[in-house]
């Protein structure tokens, strides 16, 4: 199996929704997660056609698809496109807190998405607001029972037709009645169907008992910290196999596997501000996750960070120079730029369409280029979470240059065309059960104007001096963010920094501050990048949007901004717990003050 460099650090990034809950809520959410769609870390072997015929399930899918295609062709209105995707998911979920297991489950599921398009590619049932009518999902027999599988597929297909057909008639009426849409692109692009069957992965060995013990021990590392009043360590190990057949002739099988370990720890400052640290590790298999000693060291570091944060002063509203670490810059680009380059947002009339009419124009400083490249498996020895070989619509993944030398070139396209872009570029992604949209895979920002990373801190100080500011801000770590892209709400974004330092112009030591939120409008923020570091950093995570949670990666160098606006974070006012935590060593709060010796970029 693949082995990972030990310093791989991954974290949850969120898109339009922030995925972070507490206690029961967060765990119940986690329990329901069916895992990541079966597209990450694809195998290498590609043996088309011949292989397809030996898979009993693929045969059953194909047989039933052909029957439906023939029989439904006689219906009025008739579908012009039908596809079956079957997901096999084998998930183990172990969660621990303070040395004991909270949940320990294993689940095997086989589910299917039946996708149907009625009408014509120019106008079909999925048009506009009725996009949901394009898919019906359900459970399939766990074993390869051809009769039962065909029967369930038939039931779901019939049910889907009974949704899609009236939806199409509705769409036709609405289109006739309503004012003409600005973007008159068809609803579905024409693509060459692909046959691609990857060899199934042999399940890596997983010693559940040993991992249960390890989760107990790692989560137990938080036990001695009375002020870490909430923490969990969650291990999610899954293997998945996605099979897809379509009436156009596509037959694709992509197995995948992933292991994720998420550590969350939370404290509350005396003023009621909740402070959270999250660390996520990701690998193709549990064996690739960091060793126990490293995890425990990470837990200790998180606890130390929280202790320092608890005692740190609250940041004041600020508008001035700022330095973002590579990982922070990566999240920033994912939220501020990446989500706005998703193809479907350019034609949805509810959307703000920040970049829709900016193709060929400069939207970033000239020295920056951005690609989204799902075909990339790793970068500088770090596995990329947004890697896949085929997207959920059966389109081969492609490297897409979205911004070249600051100029907007392209969007992240699913099979939903937009004005000027009539083809998919392999970015149609979804979690099982949801209609695909254009999504990010591996968003990679590269720079031609770089300085050695070590010099950026001095440049920040110089910039602060130049602007007559007492300090600049250094964003070392960001927990995630969200962005609003619709018209009805302000075109804003917010990223949630957790480790932020004031870097003083007069040479005082750096000072950790808490409660900082970066705010602003996307177009303005992006033009204020002065220079970047010379090393690229990877942020792996899970991104949530309309089409569900998908694994993504964002890559960027550290960046110096001439101006960044921050605001005070709104927070609750409940006090920290009244009584001391059971079993914590020593009195809470007795150990040390704010960590003032900041980490240097």
């Amino acid at each position: 199996m693949h082995s990972l460099p030990v310093d791989l650090r991954v974290r949850g990034v969120s898109g339009t929704l922030q995925l972070h809950g507490r206690r029961l809520a967060s765990l119940l959410v986690a329990l329901q997660l069916v895992g990541l769609p079966g597209l990450a870390v694809a195998g290498e072997k590609d043996k088309p056609a011949a292989k397809a015929s030996t898979d009993v399930l693929l045969q059953a899918m194909q047989g039933e698809l052909n029957r439906a295609k023939t029989d439904l062709a006689k219906s009025d209105p008739a579908p012009y496109y039908l596809s079956y995707t079957v997901y096999d998911q084998d998930q183990i979920f172990i969660a621990g807190a303070y040395g004991a297991l909270l949940t320990d489950t294993a689940a095997v599921r086989r589910s299917t998405d039946v996708t149907m398009r009625v009408g014509t590619p120019e106008l079909d049932n999925t048009h506009g607001q009725s996009r949901g009518s394009g898919m019906t999902s359900g459970s399939l027999p766990l074993q390869d029972d051809p009769d039962a599988t065909a029967r369930v597929l038939w039931e779901l297909t019939d049910r889907e037709y009974k949704r899609a057909a009236p939806a199409y008639l509705n769409v036709k009426t609405n289109t006739a009645v309503q004012a003409e849409e600005e973007d008159k692109s068809p609803d579905f692009s024409k693509e060459e169907p692909k046959v691609h069957v990857e060899e199934k992965l042999t399940a890596p060995p997983f010693d559940r008992k040993a991992w249960e013990e390890e989760i107990r021990r790692v989560s137990g590392a938080f036990r001695k910290y009375g002020e870490v009043y909430y923490s969990t360590v969650i291990l999610q190990v899954g293997s998945s196999n996605a099979r897809m057949v379509s009436s156009e002739g596509a037959a694709i099988e992509t197995p995948s596997a992933s292991a994720r370990l998420v550590m969350e720890a939370q404290t509350r400052a005396d003023d009621g501000m909740d402070l959270l640290r999250v660390e996520t590790f990701q690998a193709p298999a549990a064996g690739g996750l960091p060793k126990e000693a490293e995890l425990i060291a990470k837990a200790e570091k998180m606890a130390a960070d929280l202790k320092a944060l608890r005692n740190a002063p609250v940041a004041e509203p600020y508008d001035g120079p700022a330095l973002l670490s590579g990982r922070a810059a990566a999240v920033f680009f994912h939220e501020v730029l990446g989500h706005r380059l998703e193809g479907h947002r350019q034609r949805d009339e509810e959307e703000g369409q920040t970049f829709t009419k900016k193709v060929g124009q400069e939207v970033l400083p000239k020295f920056l280029s951005v690609v989204d490249d799902p075909t990339l498996g790793e970068l500088n020895g770090v596995k990329l979470a947004g890697n896949y070989s085929f997207d959920n619509e059966g389109t081969q993944a492609q490297r897409v240059t979205v911004i070249e030398d600051g100029v907007l070139k392209n969007f992240l396209m699913s099979r939903m065309p937009i004005k000027g872009f009539d083809k998919s570029n392999g970015h149609g992604r979804n979690q099982p059960g949801l209609m695909p949209t254009g999504r990010q895979g591996n968003l990679i920002v590269s720079s031609k104007q770089t300085v050695p990373e070590g010099q950026l801190r001095q440049m920040l100080i110089d910039e602060a001096k130049k602007q007559g500011k007492p300090y600049g801000l250094y964003f070392d770590d960001i927990q995630g963010g969200f962005t609003l892209t619709t018209r009805s709400l302000p075109q804003a974004f917010q990223v949630l920094p957790v480790i932020v330092y004031k870097v003083y112009a007069d040479g005082r030591p750096d000072e950790l501050v808490r409660g900082v939120d970066i705010v602003g409008t996307p177009l303005a923020a992006l033009t204020r990048i002065i220079t970047t570091g010379d090393a690229q950093h990877v942020f792996n995570g899970v991104c949530g949007a309309e089409s569900g949670s998908v694994p993504v990666s964002a890559v960027a160098p550290a960046m110096l901004f001439s101006e960044m606006e921050v605001q005070k974070r709104a927070h609750g006012h409940d006090r920290p717990p009244i009584l001391q935590a059971p079993g914590a060593d020593g009195a809470a709060g007795s150990d040390g003050k704010a960590g003032s010796a900041g980490v240097k970029p």
Partner: protein, 565 residues
């Protein structure tokens, strides 16, 4: 049919984990905010060896003694309830297994009350909170979660208390106010925990074989079956000194069949069986027989005539239909639920103002008796010793000679019911709520079923009707699933479809119910809180049966796939 068939030992049942049950004599709570030292001593002894109970008691004691914020009263009452839940869900369709999921969870619910028994913080977010706690018996890890939830519950109670006092200001003070919380005797009862141990593969095989019968029924569109096995061990402690541990289990198997008549009408059946122990569920051969019967009746329903537009006359409910009627119309309306703040009602629901009035014919009595463990050889899942608020269960006469005598109440008093009668029950993680346990319907003039059928045809004949109606089972919203015409001329029966009852309500029960059978059927109901309804046949002299106003869906767009095997 599947070729492989191996003999598996049917080693399913309840495994007693802990041996001893200790029952200590109850002593009255004095209402002080903490139990006396002696009581704590006693409590510790009772809980000894149970890490979870000990962790609960440790945090309970710590919180009772020290939990206090500036300018906020300390709690006068704290309660912890942990439900240790384990479930196994199996589902099959068309001879194949669709789902196989096991879940285990420990859910803690904490209630912290500020104020006193007369007026407290039990309002809105002050009604407590829930979290999950470790599955491992690790005292520190358990106490971390208990500690944090208690802290949160106390703060929520403080907010709720202030909010409640200010809300009350908009109402005129009640001259005879009802207490917010009833005092209750201390109960110490640590019973053995129950464990789930069953042969999964046997049940998987059974569900697959049952649903594989679809092969012989091309007229039936959908055939599936599911089984749920569950057990809950409940741990309860409160600051009055009660300590309770008990366990229960249940097992349910459900068959589902659905199809359409040639005219598109949807037809459905889903018979189910619930027992305390899986071994008491129908055996494989019986279940196959039941599946065949379900599929046969669906087939018959496809061919059955649709009911006339409207029929008004005598209707006989078989026990399997009567239980649903009684559970909904009586069971749901006899609960002592405190009305909204400021409202003068005694309780809510259809019988809110019916205290000491006649709600059923004079010959009917209704008792809720959770203390009965078995009825006619069948174990009752609605049976329990101590409710979810730590109160000893007791039989309650709800209706005597047709008169509403008592509501079922928990520790939240309502007018004229200042004390719990042991019916505060909760599903895992949720607040306790008045709920029936084992609800038994009886008549002082019970008649054999055959006599009721005879009476039905006689009554129909007397009204110059060719037939009366008999309903065997009901579906959702009390729509009949199996409804027969019983002809007055010769007693022959005819299955019909597409009917609903009109005005099958509490008024009909009071005025139109003319007889009860002597054929009580035990109906165990798993749901969130397990319940048992024991009801006999019901004969109404007049009910309206009318044609359902449902649209007829299109038939499948294309035929089902051919069978390959």
């Amino acid at each position: 049919v599947n070729g492989f068939r191996h003999k598996v030992s049917f080693a399913l049942g309840l495994l007693l984990l802990a041996g001893t049950a200790t029952v200590l004599p109850s002593s009255a709570a004095d209402g002080d905010r903490s139990a006396s030292d002696a009581a704590i001593e006693k409590a510790r002894e009772v809980a000894k060896g149970d890490v979870l109970l000990e962790a609960l008691l440790t945090e309970l004691e710590r919180s009772t003694d020290h939990l206090k914020m500036d300018q906020v009263k300390p709690p006068y009452y704290i309660e912890y309830r942990v439900d240790d839940v384990e479930n196994l869900d199996l589902e099959a369709a068309y001879g194949a297994l669709l789902s196989d999921q096991r879940q285990r969870l420990r859910v803690l619910r904490v209630v912290v009350r500020i104020g006193d028994y007369k007026q407290d913080s039990f309002y809105g977010q002050g009604m407590g909170g829930a979290t999950i706690v470790p599955l491992d018996d690790d005292p520190i890890a358990l106490r971390r979660q208990i500690w944090l939830m208690t802290d949160e519950a106390y703060k929520m109670a403080a907010d709720a208390y202030a909010e409640k006092l200010s809300s009350l200001k908009q109402f005129t003070a009640d001259p005879n106010p009802i207490d917010d919380f009833a005092k209750a005797p201390v109960v110490m009862k640590v019973e053995p925990v129950v464990a789930m141990k069953l042969d999964e593969s046997e049940w998987k095989q059974t569900l697959q074989e049952a649903t594989n019968l679809y092969r012989k029924y091309p007229e039936i569109q959908s055939v599936s079956a599911s089984a749920r096995f569950g057990r809950v061990n409940q741990y309860f402690v409160n600051s009055e000194g009660s300590i309770v541990r008990n366990g229960r289990s249940n097992a349910t198997v459900t068959l589902n069949g659905s199809t359409q008549a040639a005219d598109g009408m949807r037809l459905q059946r889903n018979p189910y069986w619930t027992e305390e122990r899986a071994e008491d569920l129908p055996k494989r051969a019986d279940l196959l027989k039941e599946t065949k019967q379900m599929l046969d009746t669906l087939k018959a329903l496809r061919q059955a005539p649709i009911v006339e537009e409207s029929y008004r006359g005598p209707v006989l409910f078989a026990p399997d239909a009567a239980d649903d009627v009684m559970a909904g119309l009586i069971g749901g309306n006899i609960l002592g639920r405190k009305p909204q703040l400021g409202r003068p009602n005694r309780t809510t629901g259809a019988f809110a103002t019916s205290y000491k009035t006649r709600i059923l014919p004079k010959f009917v009595s209704v008792v809720d008796d959770p203390t009965i463990k078995e009825f006619a050889g069948k174990k009752l899942i609605g049976s329990y010793d101590v409710d979810s608020e730590g109160v000893q269960s007791q039989p309650v006469t709800v209706v005597g000679e047709g008169m509403l005598e008592n509501y079922l109440v928990g520790r939240q008093p309502i007018r004229d019911f200042p004390n719990s009668n042991g019916h505060g029950r909760a599903s895992p993680g949720t607040a306790a709520f008045p709920t029936a346990g084992t609800l038994i319907f009886k008549s002082s003039e019970a008649a054999p079923a055959a006599e009721l059928t005879k009476k039905l045809t006689e009554m129909a004949g007397a009204e110059n009707k060719a037939y009366g109606y008999r309903v065997d089972t009901l579906g959702a919203a009390n729509a009949p699933r199996l409804l027969y015409r019983v002809y007055a001329s010769d007693g022959h029966q005819e299955l019909v479809r597409g009917a609903v009852f009109n005005e099958l309500d509490v008024r009909a029960l009071r005025n139109d119910l003319v007889a009860l059978g002597n054929d009580p059927l035990v109906s165990n109901r798993a749901g969130g809180v397990p319940q048992t309804i024991i009801a006999p046949s019901l004969l109404f002299d007049e009910l309206e049966v009318k044609r359902a106003d449902t649209s007829k869906d299109k038939l499948p767009e294309y035929p089902a796939p051919d069978l390959k095997r």
